[in-house]
């Protein structure tokens, strides 16, 4: 009896235990719980010591482990495992790209005015006719920076440009020289040398590409300045989380489709195999590209460079359409699987004793 005189009704131990077990069974996929939940419960209750009110820790661990196994379960056979791994790898890449895209939505990107100001610092004089673009040299849209190109100048030197950047708080890195690539101008082939360097300041990266014409009478330097950002600070976390979610979704969908398509007609299974192989062929290039970008993010070089966002491969790259095609094929497989009714196990009718 409580202090207020209310009678507390203590539930019998086995009722409390059963409630605990029922709660734990919610960890299982719904289909599995419907098929086996009651008999698992019967075994748990039969195995429990009398007067036990809460489940033994070993039973809890065993049930949770069993539930995880059921969620990630695949049909028997190597083919299902290979398909699940490939789906996890591809959708993991897609998930990482989505994570990267979400992270970049919060990034503060350089404005046109700041890009022109930086380009003028590099040049040393106000630009006469700056050309701004947010596209890379392949014509792909760039979200992580602005390119500023200017006319040729005859008195520009790399060391002076670095000194001006230093004076504005930038930290320039070493220069890389490229030579041997001639420049075609007015139908004439001119000898040229290219130099490039990066400078960083507060998460911003400026990349200066200078092409100097060495042919007498044509001497001068054309500059291209790219002002970008190194990438949002929490982009790696967003990429990892997105990748994990994508990989898990890939695995689960493969398991679901695998069970749906099991023992279906040969024509249906051949259709799915053809769709799957086409999806794999389409996804291979962009997926490898995306993982290479992720590797660059994970293991950056000694010098900071403007980060190529991982989501580039999802929406902006010219090969992103291949990935979209692969995802459409995957969707088609899911539609074929959804049209196949799950085969039910023949169960005898229960007798009550």
């Amino acid at each position: 009896m409580t202090a207020s005189g209310e009678v507390m009704r203590e539930l019998p131990a086995h009722v409390r235990l059963e409630r605990w077990y029922r709660r734990l069974l919610w960890a299982y996929p719904i289909g599995y719980r419907r098929a086996h939940g009651e008999e698992i419960l019967a075994v748990l209750m039969d195995s429990a010591e009398p007067d036990r009110r809460i489940p033994a820790r070993a039973d809890v661990v065993d049930l949770v482990r069993g539930a995880v196994r059921q969620w990630f379960r695949l049909p028997i056979g190597r083919m299902a495992v290979v398909a699940a791994v490939l789906s996890a790898v591809i959708l993991g890449a897609v998930g990482a790209g989505v994570g990267s895209w979400l992270a970049w939505q919060a990034a503060v990107l350089p404005s046109d005015a700041s890009a022109i100001h930086t380009a003028e610092t590099v040049r040393g004089v106000p630009l006469r006719a700056p050309e701004l673009s947010r596209q890379d040299w392949l014509g792909n849209p760039q979200r992580n920076g602005v390119n500023v190109a200017d006319e040729q100048s005859s008195d520009w030197t790399l060391e002076a440009a670095k000194a001006r950047l230093r004076a504005e708080g930038w930290t320039p890195g070493g220069s890389e020289m490229y030579s041997g690539a001639p420049v075609i101008r007015g139908g004439r082939q001119l000898e040229a040398a290219s130099e490039e360097f990066h400078a960083i300041k507060d998460g911003a990266v400026v990349t200066v590409s200078a092409v100097t014409i060495l042919t007498p009478g044509e001497v001068g330097t054309s500059l291209a300045t790219h002002l970008g950002v190194t990438g949002p600070r929490w982009e790696p976390v967003a990429i990892m989380l997105g990748g994990l979610v994508g990989a898990v979704i890939g695995w689960l969908l493969t398991g679901w489709a695998g069970y749906r398509l099991r023992r279906r007609t040969l024509s249906r299974r051949l259709t799915v195999v053809a769709l799957g192989l086409t999806a794999l062929w389409l996804a291979a290039g962009p997926t490898i590209g995306l993982y290479e970008t992720l590797a660059d993010l994970a293991f950056p070089g000694s010098e900071a460079q403007p980060a190529d966002p991982a989501y580039f491969w999802l929406f902006l790259n010219h090969r992103a359409q291949q990935l979209h095609g692969a995802l459409a094929m995957g969707l088609a497989i899911l539609v074929v699987a959804a049209m196949s009714r799950r085969q039910r196990e023949a169960r005898p009718t229960a007798t009550v004793t």
Binding site: V43, D46, D62, G66, R347, P348, A350, T351, T353
Partner: protein, 117 residues
């Protein structure tokens, strides 16, 4: 084949059993060394049903609780027999090699007439 799977098939060899019956039989067969818990048992049983080595025999409701009985299929019996043969062969090979093993201890080889250097 993993040990719990082998023991479950062995437990079902004598006739249909429900889940709790299987756990009891497995504990007895393994002399208490293998204790099958419900999550593991039904994970294994489900796999065995999928492989058509085991099938549902009947189900009863006893004291309001569902008891589903499982039985070994012919394919299951064949698989169990094959596994038993393989294990017996391995055990015989191990025993014969152990008998042929020289009794080496502390750098001395035991002979029927005592140790010699």
């Amino acid at each position: 084949m993993q040990e719990p799977t082998f023991l479950i098939l062995t437990a079902l060899a004598t006739g249909p059993k429900h889940g709790y019956g299987v756990t009891q039989e497995v504990a007895e067969l393994s002399e208490g060394t293998v204790k099958l818990r419900a999550g593991t048992l039904y994970g294994a049983l489900d796999r065995l049903v999928e492989q058509e080595l085991v099938m549902v025999d009947r189900q009863e409701i006893v004291d309001g609780r569902l008891r589903r009985y499982y039985r070994l299929t012919d394919a299951g019996a064949g698989k169990l027999a094959e596994q038993a043969r393989r294990l017996r062969k391995h055990a015989e090979a191990a025993e014969s090699r152990l008998q042929a093993r020289p009794n080496v201890a502390f750098g001395f080889t035991a002979t029927p007439f005592g140790a010699r250097p």
